[in-house]
Symmetry: C2
Subunit: 655 residues, 2 copies
């Protein structure tokens, strides 16, 4: 690279101020700041500042029960919209609720119970205007597989039911505690890629489970992995019922067609929203008229009339199965939270209002605690139902109340109508909902943008499909964390070069027209320097210097005199990192090279000052920008060539 | 803040080139690069490039057995220095070896065995010229406490001995595998602060254990925690032997005095190096002459004459205790590695030569595998012995060979001399060595420089002293990792201001004389944007904008129009991070603000391009420096005031 066009805009080294050590701050104050950023990044107490006590009480009430905030300004127009949205989602909630309860191996009526009380609780406490509360397939499946490991739902349905309530209670307590302790950020550790892979895997598993209903099988494996399910399906080919399969595929075709139609013409969103209920009605009529239940088509059977019975006496806390209930509660609780909050946030973004994650967790938690005492199992804000709610034009959480009332009417008067509903229709409804979760486009996007995220996604998927839902989740979280640790342990370092006719220095691999500065090696470290990477950085810096010296030697250019470290991207440094810098300084001194720092940040300067590293390197060798550091080096190079450092280096060696 | 002095050096917006998307690179190539940086950061294969096969073989031999590298150029002068150093460390190794073997509840003779074979192996394979091989107190204590949990060394000494050999074998295999698999960086996850706290805690525990010897107690607790030991000591005050205590404190005083003297006058390093052996000789003579062994002063007793018996038939791989042996091997192996490599590196730095961590691990591992087959237990490079070696002027690993030969002579002819050596002298030797590990000055340094490192250090110390060595280690590593995760989850963000008379923008909290730019908010994100922090950053950016708008509203200044994000320190971004940026862009658009990026790096530009974010934000809103971004905003502000963005924002809303 030629350096003929290398011109300094100014030769005045003292042009701008030196790098400043930030004003001292008490440990207490900085601790307080750090705690605030960790637990209150959204500053929820902001509104309480400078208010009277009574005003604060009202604000606090509104904080925990947002209904007091929006109810006074509720209008009849809103009610009209909310009513339509509420009826629409009720028509979806009833068949879906029954289907998911079957998926969880729980009595179908629990699906209706869970669409009655929890939405009422959420309407008072939730801050999303678009979320429609209900049970979800993945949590239902997890409940079935985790509780099913210790209790057989068919042999001991009562114990199984009670464990499901207990798990829901645990999930609620866990969710509310996360919110109260401001630990909501734990959910952030489930990355976007993890969730895509995990959801697709869970959807695949759920679809495979539906083969039981579609094929009209009586016996089926309790495992959820692909191999077990396929073995179970293909070892009993003689048990397959064609009547069931025809009905199932027929309704699936109907549901998918309506969804495709509604997707093409968003105005007719209600076509796909109503399709499940229509399928249920058509299916029930068909069975009733043809008496297909006597020809191998299984039906729901009797559903008890009446509202939710109380169930807090059913919670079991002294049982050999308690640990299973707790484990199930925590895992399903986290997954339900992740889905509910992601859904709430997406719709809030569309309508430009704010969702407080921690507050939502308290709402979800309370909803599940109350639910577990009133015969409901785990509920959250499912994406599909919330999307219908949004499309149906809901304005506030009143749509949830309308849905709850519709479900109440069903519970009180309409349950006998579901007697002849064929299970195969429920399977079709589940499959149709699950197909939407197989987001292969998102996976392709991950592949194009970030290979590592794609690996995380695929691992989560494969883990769920080939092992189990829990294992898939653990694998995905472990890989994500490993990536974070690897990122910290192996930060990027690169050489900077001068952008022609400027004082700007940038990555030579990104900007190909940069030129190097004779006798000066400029390195950028692109991460904080911590114990986990200080060993690596020491080796890496040494290697950069070796490489540069080799290159210069072979081309016969000016030998290396200065090594500038651009610290602009080094956000923090710990004591191991400072030791590393001290070692690098010593090694450089011994090799007759001068170490120069450029643009260290506030935190770094503070620590370098406290550890006396600034005295060791000399304040005059710390510059505000790379440009100034290069200017200073150049000035020294031309003042006392050929080697201004030999004396200094010898002086150092005498010390 | 006044903006009167805010002058732009140039108004030509197109002065420098745009931010460049780096040239595309195949996935294979970037994967190869990442793997190399992860596993081969020190580029060990560099020397093998462009060589003939036979030359490669010779280089490979020299790589694994550095003795072939330096032996040909070995001189008589070197031998003279190495001989003196070797004899000096032998005089330290013999009493220390016996003491540490007692600490590990193993026969004292094992201490001598372990100072014979392993140093010979290391001399051939090790790359440090200063390391003196031997057993260490912490690993001995860990062996005693971990194996002691399952087997009582007094009741079943043979099984205990065999498990100790097995644990050593496991440690060796583990160490060698880490080296061969290039996983040496795992040791880096033990931070400097962790090691200081852990070592001090272990030293405290070891010193407390010596109360048994000093007070001449026959019974003693097997626990290592402070509470158990103190209870054990003070419940048997009637058993204390004053003769023992007087002897013990007398020798301790002697040892500490010699050490103090040698520290003041480094020329007389041999005074403190010889002191342990002198104590042993004096103590043995004293006991022999006064027959104190009959008055409650316990002595070593008979030591078998002869060299190491083979022990590979003693390794037990089918035993209910195998898991304990494996656990002990792995934990002691890692700790021994951490100490050995840290010691090797420090001395290499003093003498300016290079230590390859992974190669050293292979050497340590082989040494312990061979050792476990020749009646040795875990050895590494202890700091105290290596420091004596260094001070004694050793030149190469030949000093280890000299030490081994001296120990061999002892084993063959001199063991009867140790018959009358009082155990209390061994306790004094251990205490005196351990006091040097209580590095309170380092702890104070941590407190001044980095509070969090101090917390890690104290937690490790408290964990070791009040619970157990393993718990202390686990706590310290967990806190260190938590810190890394918290750092990634809560990156720093800050406002940048203009440094007067320049185009430079810096943190307003660090540089108090900066001035803000009317209508423009400049934020810097100081970490890569990953799933773990994208949620936080979204909230935090929103809060910065809110705060700025509030401030401007209350002071009646120009309203906010532009938000510039300085991405210079954002080393990488994943798909969750890109989604976050997209959301921020949407929210800004909706609020009528324009989002501008400054200086995104190569990796970030690549991903923003692949995910089409560059198209969304517009290439013209991505600038090379903050200064240029501000210039461009300023140009737009003055071109079409009062609000150039209202139309654009409305246009967006129509889309």
């Amino acid at each position: 690279m030629g350096n003929a066009d290398y011109v300094y805009p100014s030769t005045n080294v003292e042009r701008t101020p030196r790098v400043v050590i930030p004003p001292p701050q008490s440990s207490m104050k900085s601790l307080k700041y750090n705690l605030k950023e960790t637990f209150f990044p959204d500053d929820p107490l902001r509104q309480f500042k400078n208010q009277t006590t009574s005003r604060r009480f009202v604000l606090g009430l509104k904080y925990f029960f947002p209904i007091f905030d929006w109810a006074p300004s509720y209008t009849l127009d809103f009610l009209k919209s909310d009513f339509i949205a509420g009826i629409t989602i009720a028509s979806l909630a009833i068949p879906q609720g029954i289907s998911y309860a079957k998926l969880a191996n729980l009595p179908p009526i629990l699906g209706l119970y869970s669409s009655f009380i929890p939405p009422l609780v959420y309407a008072m406490m939730g801050s999303s205007r678009d979320l429609a509360v209900g049970t979800v397939a993945v949590a239902s499946l997890l409940t079935a597989s985790m509780l099913g490991n210790v209790v057989n739902a068919n042999e001991n349905p009562k114990l199984y039911l009670h464990l499901a309530f207990t798990a829901t209670f645990v999930a609620g307590v866990f969710q509310a505690s996360l919110g109260l302790l401001r630990l909501g950020f734990i959910v952030d550790f489930l990355s976007h890629a993890t969730i895509i892979g995990f959801m697709a895997g869970a959807a695949t598993v759920v679809i495979m489970q539906q083969l039981k209903g579609i094929l009209g099988l009586n016996h089926f494996t309790h495992s959820t992995d692909l191999v077990s399910v396929m073995r179970s399906v293909f070892t009993q080919t003689h048990q397959w019922r064609w009547e069931s399969a025809v009905l199932g595929f027929g309704f699936l075709f109907f549901l998918l067609t309506t969804r495709y139609f509604s997707k093409r013409k968003p105005k007719y969103f209600w076509v796909s929203a109503m399709a499940p209920l229509t399928s249920v009605i058509l299916g029930s009529l068909l069975v009733y008229l043809t008496h297909a239940e006597k020809h191998g088509v299984q039906v729901i059977g009797n559903l008890k009339k009446g509202l939710n019975p109380l169930s807090f006496t059913d919670l079991v806390f002294v049982s050999p199965y308690l640990t299973t209930a707790i484990k199930t509660g925590i895992i399903t609780g986290v997954i339900a939270l992740a889905e509910g909050i992601a859904v709430g946030r997406s719709f809030a973004m569309f309508k430009n209002y704010h969702i407080d994650g921690n507050k939502e967790m308290i709402a979800f938690g309370t909803m599940n605690i109350v639910g577990s005492c009133t015969s409901c199992y785990l509920t959250t804000g499912p994406f599909s139902r919330s999307a219908v709610n949004y499309n149906a034009g809901c304005k506030t959480a009143v749509s949830n109340i309308v849905m709850a009332l519709a479900v109440m009417v069903t519970l009180l008067f309409l349950t006998p109508l579901f007697h002849y509903t064929p299970l195969v229709v429920l399977s079709s409804i589940i499959i149709s909902a699950m197909l939407g979760l197989l987001d292969y486009e998102a996976a392709i996007h991950l592949w194009t943008v970030d290979k590592f995220d794609f690996i995380v996604c695929i691992s989560a998927y494969a883990g769920v499909v080939f092992a189990s839902v829990e294992i898939g989740l653990v694998i995905a979280v472990a890989i994500s964390l490993l990536r974070l640790l690897l990122f910290v342990a192996r930060p990027k370092t690169f050489i900077l070069g001068n952008i022609p006719n400027s004082m700007i220095y940038r990555n030579v691999e990104q900007y190909l027209n940069t030129s190097s500065v004779p006798g000066v090696l400029i390195l950028e470290i692109d991460a904080p320097i911590y114990f986990a990477n200080s060993g690596y950085l020491r080796e890496r810096i040494a290697r950069w210097v070796d490489d540069e010296e080799d290159k210069l030697k072979s081309s016969g250019e000016t030998s290396l005199q200065y090594v500038i470290l651009n610290m602009g991207a080094v956000g923090n440094i710990d004591t191991s990192g400072i030791s590393m810098l001290e070692e690098v300084k010593k090694v450089m001194d011994r090799r007759g090279l001068k170490l120069v720092l450029a643009n260290p940040g506030a935190e770094v300067m503070k620590k370098l000052n406290k550890s006396k590293f600034i005295e060791k390197i000399g304040q005059e060798w710390i510059h505000l920008t790379v440009g100034e550091a290069v200017e200073a080096c150049d000035f020294m190079l031309h003042r006392c060539s050929p080697s201004p450092l030999k004396e200094e280096s010898e002086a150092y060696n005498k010390v």
